[in-house]
Symmetry: C2
């Protein structure tokens, strides 16, 4: 037995397999290891990386040497480069832009062996403070349309260095899934004069079957039409389109929520590889006529984190269509995660 | 050095890494094996599968026993079921449909060990004849909006049974990437009164840098904004929105093209896992008011195959945004494939 479910936030259908849904034990396989060489993210190796653009140094130590707790550096092998003007030209039917953007690394701890779920809530709050600072800084750059912050944990999720870090990519375009989602949220807002995610959150809180955790500031739930088994949304309960508007109080609350949820995921799925993606409203720079332009402050959007263990290989069908088959109903996933002893 | 490229057919931006692009040898790793048990797709095991819905039996042998060359059966573990009426209801903000659809297996050869690239052109033509027959049959079913035919070759590409086969999924919705692509093709047609793919094909044939192979009926090229390294489009040179309109002559030509291209891919990337997806115009059944409805015959669409080796793990960034980074320029990929000795 299966059913098709539609998610209004991302405007997408998903197949949810309901009978004989897969349980956590079905996803536990041997994890790939990442070959460890001399780690450029450890204390004492600061000169192996480009100069830091941000650091949290409670001891007020000088830049580019030990003493930091969180450190942000430009990626040594960036896929987009920060230097230069944005240039745009056509090649017949095609459009081309030069590869301008920012590609940064947020090193979340000096401790090479520290698992994301082992960072304390306060340490995670410091990491999110770094996110906020980099968003505020990079938004000033008029070349960038959108900033994505994401984390690859484990080899299967795309990590190549084991030392705990996140990545930031500032893009001159708005990626397609974000474009679709912005449109869906905007259409709803225009129709209802209410935020789609706020309404959805109210429904999830009232229903409760897909909730994993809720406190006064954040709610965590398995989306009704989850594309991946055990994927979660971490959503601020008060409406906000922009992560960089988070107060210090909210950063602390987010640290607590994230610490709790990462611990649950590690327990239930035995340290799964995972990806974490921050879905935030794009930088607001109208540029008329481009298909990727988004002309307003996007206050009708509501930011959230998507946390998804990478425990299934997507097959040809899924990448070829964007249509996913999820073998674990989100109601079951949420129950396993709720009941986990952390 | 990298650049951003936009593909009008799928309305998507991609990052192409141009300097130090990855070469075929960079993608050659040990392939995962598929555990072989008693194979339900071999001669003599016909009773292990549901009864066939199509078979090519040149010896006119009776159904569900040996003698077939191509055999199509319902999937024993379908993700969508053929029985029942389509039911649709809301759950607050969400939409739900029961899991109605068709999920079939096209067994391409009776020979368990036969690699896709080892099927002769004529044998592949027989496989495509089966595709055509199933499309024609399933289109009559008014419950289905779209039919996807795809192939997973190799464990990393999602195959679970090593015996050479393709899969068919008839869906009650139009998947998101197809919806975007249909809209892009339609918008272009409305503006220009010409087919977007026809124009794009003319540009690729004139340019030549991304061409892998061309004959009087089909062209094969690496898309200008390929999402994946070494991915290819196999496109009929004469406009057609619907695979099921292929003549026998065209089936033969398609068999020749596919045989040649699969051989090149196997040579250059040493038998890579791959996915093949048929992008065909949806079944034309207007159903007003649904977000997935597509109300016309979609003659402005132009069908094609997408062939993509699965040689890179997509990272968090890519699944979280739909925005891909391709480390091999399609011009290089096409050159390697053109120069391959088959």
């Amino acid at each position: 037995m299966s059913e098709l479910r539609w998610d209004p936030i991302v405007d997408n259908w998903v197949v949810i397999v309901k009978a004989r849904g897969r349980r956590p034990a079905d996803f536990i396989t041997e994890r790939k290891r990442i070959e460890s060489v001399v780690c450029p993210f450890c204390y004492g190796h600061e000169e192996k990386t480009p100069a830091e653009v941000y650091a949290w140094r409670p001891d007020a130590s000088p830049p580019n040497q030990p003493g930091w707790r969180v450190r942000v550096i430009p990626n040594k092998f960036p896929i987009l480069r920060i230097e230069g003007q944005l240039e745009f030209h056509g090649e017949g039917l095609y459009d081309v832009m030069n590869g301008i953007g920012a590609h940064e690394v947020i090193i979340e701890t000096p401790d090479h062996m520290r698992h994301p779920a082992d960072l304390r809530a306060g340490e995670l709050a410091d990491v999110f403070r770094a996110f906020r600072s980099r968003l505020i800084d990079l938004r000033r750059d008029k070349r960038f349309r959108h900033i994505v912050i994401y984390k690859n944990h484990g080899r299967e999720a795309g990590a190549t260095i084991p030392h705990n870090h996140s990545l930031l990519l500032a893009l001159p375009i708005i990626p397609p899934q974000m474009r679709t989602s912005l449109q869906a949220c905007r259409d709803y807002f225009h129709q209802k004069k209410r935020c789609l995610m706020c309404d959805l959150l109210a429904q999830e809180l009232a229903d409760g079957r897909r909730l994993v955790r809720v406190d006064s500031e954040f709610a965590v739930f398995a989306p009704f039409a989850s594309r991946h088994p055990f994927s979660l949304r971490i959503v601020p309960r008060r409406h906000s389109h922009d992560f960089s508007l988070l107060t210090d109080h909210m950063l602390t609350a987010l640290g607590e929520t994230m610490h709790d949820v990462l611990g649950r995921l590690r327990t239930v799925l035995r340290d799964p590889p995972f990806n974490l993606v921050l879905h935030n409203a794009p930088s607001a720079l109208p540029r008329a006529g481009r298909p990727d332009c988004w002309g307003s402050l996007s206050c009708d959007y509501h930011w959230y984190f998507e946390l998804a263990p990478k425990i299934m290989e997507p097959a040809g069908f899924e990448w070829g269509t964007g249509f996913f088959i999820n073998p674990t109903p989100p109601e079951d996933a949420a129950r396993y995660l709720r009941e986990a002893l952390v």
